[in-house]
Amino acid sequence: MKAAVVTFPGSNCDRDLAQAFAAAGADVVRVWHKETALPEGTDVVGVPGGFSYGDYLRCGAIAAQSPVGQAIRDFAGRGGYVLGICNGFQVLTEMGLLPGALMRNAGLQFLCKPVTLRVATTDSVFTQGYARGAEVMFPIAHHDGNYTIDAEGLARLQGEDRVAFRYADNPNGSMDDIAGVLSANRRVLGMMPHPERAVDPAQGGTDGSALFRALAGMMARA
């Protein structure tokens, strides 16, 4: 599997994400935001957490319009796999690759702590390594993780089984406890919690490994 991990000015989880892909057996290529094309043979794009472009205007808004942003949009349009974590999730919603928006946390606080999630669907390459309903612990670290979508969009996500993860104890006011959602073709996942910060015992847990391993395993068979 070849994983392309993007770096915007202000990204700060790009190395962790690259490490997590590498630990699962992927060849990792780091991609700077000014690139207009992804590396030849890219199987999956990782859009990392952080504060791209200083969160100016809105979180993820400027990154979504960056040169590499267009390449990611085209890649997803061709059926490519994209994983956006934290700020990466915000970028993917701003690109229109995922529905809804991430608003300021309901309690207005920046939240940085481990949280328990429930795997809401196993019908995606990202979540197939878990049991449906399984509880996993991933850290969160965000100020704007309050997932918001109109009633019609929420009904569509629920009806199409596109909620990937839900918070066991909603920390930020997200509608329907949503922590992560899938695109209609189930190949784009955006989530606020950080699976790449839960892949090594030294990080306090390894619940994130199954996500990266399942992804790498699927790519190896392809």
Binding site: L57, A61, P99, A106, G173
Partner: protein
């Protein structure tokens, strides 16, 4: 030509920051504040000289970047 864009959360979208401001105003003794909504003002200096063309261009800017129309609405003033 100058343009001013107001970006506000859509009606019905909860504004946690506006709520916090309302609470703070209450703490200061301003008891009669029933609601606060917080938004952005963006001023643009445009090379365009045609009013209609400028407005159309700013509208496109709002749709593509300046507002997130999933949760926000915008108004444009041309001066």
């Amino acid at each position: 030509m100058k343009a001013r864009v107001h970006v506000m959360l859509k009606d019905g979208v909860l504004d946690p920051q506006g709520e916090a401001v309302r609470h703070a105003l209450g703490t200061l003794g301003f008891g009669g504040v029933e609601a606060v909504r917080q938004g952005k003002v963006i001023d643009l200096d445009l090379a365009a000289t045609d009013r209609a063309a400028a407005e159309a261009e700013v509208r496109a800017m709002c749709e593509k970047l300046l507002a997130n129309t999933v949760i926000e609405k915008y108004t444009i003033e041309i001066a």
